[in-house]
Symmetry: C2
Subunit: 367 residues, 2 copies
């Protein structure tokens, strides 16, 4: 059921990238390595990806003329963030192939659609229920149990649009935070650890996955990713197989990340799907010959997928807020330092990351 | 005797790069990783480095107004090729720090000056003698012996401006090829193998070196670099120490490469010095956490030098002329594929390279 492979974008061709943050920037750098140019489209004047792009468009994501001109100058289109207006995707998809496609994005832009999609595939998630009114929120809690997390269905990231509900009598106060946005209640998982699968599928249906990292969050933001994770071999294979089923069902082309909770009794629950390269895969830049960014460009450009083998263990730490201000000290420490070229640091803003490689071992040392 | 460290170029600053070929392109990509912008200056419209540069100047290297405008927009200046007119360097050096400096370039731009410099440091080279006239060429051969290689003193690369002289009666015919350019005669070394040291020095006098690769040439062009080389530990240390003495004597800031002949009786002769990142160091992109390109940018920007440790063995093969045309096949093979974004392939033109990583071993397997 996979689409027939289209003509690949040859070296010298141009990949259009919607979004100009650090993910877009690292996609541009990966494209350059393969002899491909990048045209970055962002609504932000100082977008970090502009600095390395062969062509730049600074315009809003719903500016039709800019979108059409952008599409006409590129050979294939992709994006670095999932909250792209669907009208934008429709406009662009009439001009050039968008990978991954609008269907994959539609599923993952809405937490309820995504959970229902997973449930339809028989893939386990935490208990969830949609709600709009306070009355529905009460019913939702009755179904999910407590503690639960109320989340807006759309436009959330890094913990934005999320409220934890520990007691039923917190509900009314937290409900007001939603300002009437459609929402979903999810039972909070008492997990042993979190992990993710970074994988790629091309339009010929080939599927490859990196070794799953363990992910450690603080304040809802990824702080650290570690490979190998504590998953045993069977669990890792299961997580990769689940990711493969998701990619196949979405007719997905490109890199996707699936975040999992590993429960204390050894089960895997899908937390969420990111239809893009992912912060928990940044360590692939150093620990693998083909990084997640190059892998995504390969899939988008219709090239063969690359090797996902890992030659080293790795620990990736995000540099958040003012943590990158001591860049001279960080540059003098072992590890691969990445700074994203953002002009201003703000609390919670991802400014860079640092990856340390460690010798390859069969099993991770206990923490 | 090292200059006091100057203020480093902070993230968000701009590195000016003279030259827009693949070395410049890979320098830009390395700068981007550190949050630094690049302004590329090249006299070639389709320069590969333009595609990834934040700012571009396309002008001749002696266009004073363009050079001044370029200098005023950058925080530090470096270059990717050594044949920069000295007047250009003088103009730029009055505006911004150029690293490495004009003195290092003056020594390495002229094969005779370079050999005399090495001899003055007590560093062994092959026998050599300068000549200008046919009569002097005869005297030169009498001093160097045969076979010898006649080389123009300036502007040679990849075997251009070189003629092998096997018999004394070849001399007249080969002499005419020089068209009267000042030249040097070098005794051809019957080497066991060739190797190089890629090293970096910063303006604080810190010096670091990568493990020396073995280099295999064909038609005077590097075909393959392999780490580890057949050098034993003592030889490798000696080669690195020689490179350190050269860097120190030149008050060098940046990455330099020193090419060596390893003779059959175990001696090391310096072949030449390249005052820049070097083709034989491309494998550092994958086999080390900090590549030669990032190392150079760190030195030029006044940052701490990075770790040169190698986590894998590596074999780097250049893709020359039409060898990159089968890019789809190459992309499907193991290894890190790099394509330089050059529009046209020509015989002898470096179009890309591919690096395969191998598990780390103490000693290289015999070939």
């Amino acid at each position: 059921m996979t689409a027939a492979p289209r003509d690949p974008v040859a070296p010298g061709g141009t990949i259009g990238i919607l979004g100009g943050g650090q993910l877009g920037r690292m996609l541009v750098l990966a494209a350059a390595r393969l002899g491909l140019k990048a045209h970055v489209y962002s609504d932000t004047r100082d977008a970090p990806a502009f600095d390395v792009a062969a062509a730049r468009t600074c315009a809003s994501y719903d500016h039709r003329e800019s979108l059409l001109a952008f599409a006409q100058g590129v050979d294939a289109i992709t994006f670095e963030f999932e909250n792209i207006p669907s009208a934008t995707l429709v406009t662009l998809a009439r001009q050039r192939p968008i990978r991954p496609g609008a269907a994959a994005l539609a599923v993952t832009q809405d937490r309820l659609t995504e959970k229902d999609f997973l449930t339809g595939l028989g893939i386990a998630t935490t208990a969830y229920a949609a709600f709009g009114t306070l009355e529905e929120a009460r019913e939702a809690i009755a179904r999910t149990g407590l503690p639960a997390i109320a989340k807006t269905r759309k436009f959330g990231y890094d913990g934005k649009g999320q409220w934890t509900i520990t007691h039923a009598n917190d509900l009314e106060a937290e409900f007001s935070c939603l300002s009437g946005a459609p929402a979903i209640m999810e039972r909070r998982v008492n997990f042993a650890f979190e992990c993710s699968v970074i994988a790629a599928r091309n339009d010929g249906g080939d599927f490859v996955a990196y070794d799953p990292p363990e992910n450690i969050h603080g304040d809802h933001i990824l702080r650290r990713a570690i490979v190998p994770s504590p998953l045993n071999k069977d669990q890792a294979e299961k997580a990769i197989a689940i990711t493969g089923r998701i990619a196949e069902a979405l007719h997905y082309v490109g890199v996707l990340a699936v975040e999992f909770f590993a429960t204390r009794d050894g089960h895997l629950l899908v937390n969420e799907i990111a239809p893009r390269v992912h912060n928990s895969g940044h360590w692939t830049l150093e620990a693998c010959v083909v990084s997640q960014f190059e892998q995504h460009i390969r899939a988008v450009a219709g090239w063969p997928l690359g090797d996902t083998a890992r030659h080293s263990n790795a620990v990736m730490d995000n540099l958040i807020g003012d943590e990158a201000e001591c860049w001279q000290k960080l540059a003098g420490q072992p590890g691969a330092l990445h700074l994203y070229g953002k002009r201003e640091s703000r609390p919670g803003r991802k400014m860079g990351h640092i990856t340390r490689l460690l010798p390859l071992t069969g099993e991770r040392d206990s923490a």
